[in-house]
């Protein structure tokens, strides 16, 4: 396929430097006048080559709109979308080297499984024998060789999902867009497909842009995650960053369970949560000394102990047993309630009952300082 020569080698080297997808200052407004709705507000993001990138957010946050802008189904009101460094603004979807796995698969009901998969290659005008061999490869990749001549209505939801995936991968796009592709599957199948998707992404080396509202899914599969809310990207980072160092109240609340603690800034990285009770964070305060601050601590980062002098104190109000772990709800003197998660381990049976006085501590590295959400 490649034409040999120094120029093409240079070109491909150049392309490696470019982001697979670059979204620059993109806004999207639907409707006009009083009914105008701003689905995306000045969004910028660079998605790297061969990356599994996830757009995570609640429904209506603009993640699907962003995906549709990349696919070309919508055009941005402002800003530009670059694919491999090339500006594709104004180009229709059929001229973009991008394929989509749709939320409800959108498989062609009047075609067989194999016809669905070969559709893109046919439209690209590939030679017949190549279409045949690629289609067979794809059927093997998603383990549906036996189903090639079945109609779409004659296969199960999980199999339809695989066909949708094979159909989108067959033309070997530069970027594969996935719009909540697992949401229609049951839990067991969803878990399997999560691993399968990750495997496919690693095997094919294609950049995946994955849209979901499921934080578990995002944390399991992604190389990086962008958390979105109300048409804005609030934080971009690795799953560990997003989970351990949330920067916004929204991100902290949306991804996993977390304790939110209102506090007062008392030093560069010192915060008072109550009279005399101080917490340190490895992150610097966002506001000057004396101002309000908001801290976030994951329940599993709080260590409980017998009350001792000088440690932070509380009273257990409720104990909830979850099998692998136990959640202790406890109250501070000022009435603030916190949760601590402790893994159950028969050998280390440290347990408390409701009403017990306890001491608690937390590592400064596990205390996040949050910015309030932009409104």
């Amino acid at each position: 396929m490649t034409t040999s020569g120094p120029s093409s080698a240079q070109e491909s080297a150049l392309q490696q430097d470019c982001s697979a997808v670059a979204v620059r200052s993109v806004s999207k407004v639907f409707g006009a006048g009083a009914h105008a709705f701003r689905a995306l507000d000045d969004v910028s993001v660079e998605i790297r080559q061969n990356e599994f990138f996830t757009l995570l957010g609640p429904s209506g946050c603009g993640k699907t709109t962003l995906l549709r802008l990349i696919a070309g189904f919508e055009q941005p009101t402002l800003g530009e979308v670059l694919l491999d460094g090339e500006d594709f603004s104004g180009k229709p979807p059929y001229q973009r080297p991008v394929n989509t796995v749709f939320q409800n698969y959108a498989l062609f009901p009047h075609m067989t499984v194999a016809q669905n998969i070969s559709f893109g290659l046919e439209m690209l005008g590939r030679p017949k024998d190549r279409i045949k061999s690629v289609t067979e490869d794809m059927l093997r990749l998603v383990q549906l060789e036996a189903m090639a001549d079945r109609r779409i209505t004659q296969i199960s939801g999980g199999q339809q999902q695989r066909v949708a995936l094979a159909r989108a991968l067959a033309p070997q796009p530069k970027v594969l867009l996935l719009d909540e592709p697992l949401s229609a599957l049951d839990l067991q199948l969803r878990k399997e497909m999560q691993l399968e998707l990750k495997r496919l992404q690693t095997d094919t080396g294609i950049t995946f842009v994955f849209v979901t509202h499921d934080q578990d899914e995002a944390l399991t599969m992604s190389d990086r995650i962008a958390v979105m809310n109300r048409g804005e990207i609030l934080q971009i980072g690795t799953p560990r960053d997003i989970y351990n160092k949330p920067q916004h109240r929204f991100v902290a609340g949306f991804v996993g369970e977390i304790n939110l603690l209102p506090a007062k800034t008392t030093g560069v990285n010192e915060f008072a949560i109550a009279e005399g009770d101080c917490l340190r964070s490895s992150q610097a305060a966002l506001a000057p000394i004396g101002d309000d601050a908001l801290l976030a601590i994951r329940p599993e980062c709080i260590a409980l102990s017998a009350p001792t002098d000088g440690s932070l104190a509380g009273v257990v109000s409720n104990v909830v047993y979850h099998g692998t772990d136990t959640i202790f709800h406890f109250k501070l003197e000022n009435g603030q309630e916190l949760r601590a998660r402790s893994q159950n381990n028969a050998a280390r049976s440290q347990t408390f009952a409701a009403g017990d006085r306890i001491g608690w501590s937390v590592d400064p590295a596990s205390v996040s300082v949050l910015a309030d959400d932009p409104s």
Binding site: A71, P92, L124
Partner: protein, 298 residues
């Protein structure tokens, strides 16, 4: 009475009215028609009820000479052939015009769709007879079209637009176009727009998307539209009567003539049954051939 018996009675009572209506208004008249077609002809009109005769069916193909021998006469077959041809033409033109119209309607927003569907059905609010007379005003030698063209200096002599096959085809197309548009519109409107997006996403341009995705999915509607135009066009009466000017007879006029001026009820009944057989046979052949495809399209 036991429970099962009560249920049976209940079922019979429920299905009764429909069964009665079908028997009285369809089966009995059809049997009556078949019976009449095999009776002798009363020259003053009506039927000789006590006399069996196959004369009506012989008359479809043969003419009885004065000495009683039979000679081949294909005049009636020509009229039937012309009816089939004109109906087919009507169907093709209706499809060519109706498909883009249905497509336009299906891609508007909900408010516009309601208005457009209303506009398509609007001609039904006027009597068919009146609408055909309107076409006479448009098509005749000094009618709207000819006088406009002559006033513009495009033609010097009026074009022969009325009282020929062209006029009948125009009139039939006009009358039956809504029957083509509405079923196609219904099937287009059901198409999931995401399938169109998927097609665009897979590098199909507008034309390819139309040919490979939209038309195959609209196929059941297109078939329904074609049947709904072809079948009633084949039996049409008023349009060829008025716009054909008695020269372009169709089978419907022939049947009407037998029950009226010709006073040959058995022959009229035989023609009617022949038309019915023709339509049912062609529909059955079509259904048998395309059964698989029709079921495949959802």
């Amino acid at each position: 009475m036991n429970r099962a018996g009560k249920q049976t009675l209940f079922r019979i009572l429920l299905i009764g009215p429909a069964l009665l209506a079908i028997t009285v208004f369809m089966i009995v008249p059809l049997l009556l028609m078949a019976y009449i077609s095999f009776r002798g002809r009363d020259y003053s009109g009506g039927v000789l009820w006590d006399q069996f005769s196959a004369e009506a069916y012989i008359r479809l193909f043969f003419e009885r000479e004065l000495d009683g021998s039979l000679a081949l006469n294909l005049n009636y077959m020509f009229i039937i052939l012309r009816s089939v041809w004109l109906s087919f033409l009507t169907m093709v033109i209706s499809l060519a015009v109706g498909l883009p119209v249905a497509m336009f309607m299906a891609t508007r927003d909900a408010k516009w769709k309601a208005v457009l569907v209303f506009m398509v059905t609007l001609p039904f609010w006027t009597n068919l007879l009146v609408r055909n007379y309107a076409w006479i005003l448009l098509l005749r030698d000094h009618g709207t079209i000819n006088s406009t063209l002559m006033w513009l200096g495009i033609i010097s002599e009026p074009l022969p637009l009325l009282h020929n096959s062209f006029a009948v085809a125009v009139g039939l197309t006009y009358s039956f176009l809504p029957f083509m548009v509405l079923p196609i519109y219904a099937s287009l409107e059901k198409i999931d727009l995401r399938l169109v997006e998927a097609s665009f996403d897979l590098y199909a341009n507008r034309w390819q998307t139309m040919r490979r995705v939209i038309l195959p999915l609209a196929y059941p509607g297109i078939v329904a539209g074609c049947v709904l135009v072809f079948v009633p066009a084949l039996g049409s009466y008023i349009t060829p009567e008025l716009l054909g000017g008695g020269k372009t007879l169709m089978i419907g006029n022939l049947i009407g003539f037998q029950f009226g001026a010709a006073r040959n009820w058995p022959f009229g009944a035989a023609l009617g049954l022949f038309l019915l057989t023709l339509v049912l046979t062609s529909l059955w052949l079509y259904a048998r051939r395309y059964r698989g495809e029709l079921e495949g399209g959802q």
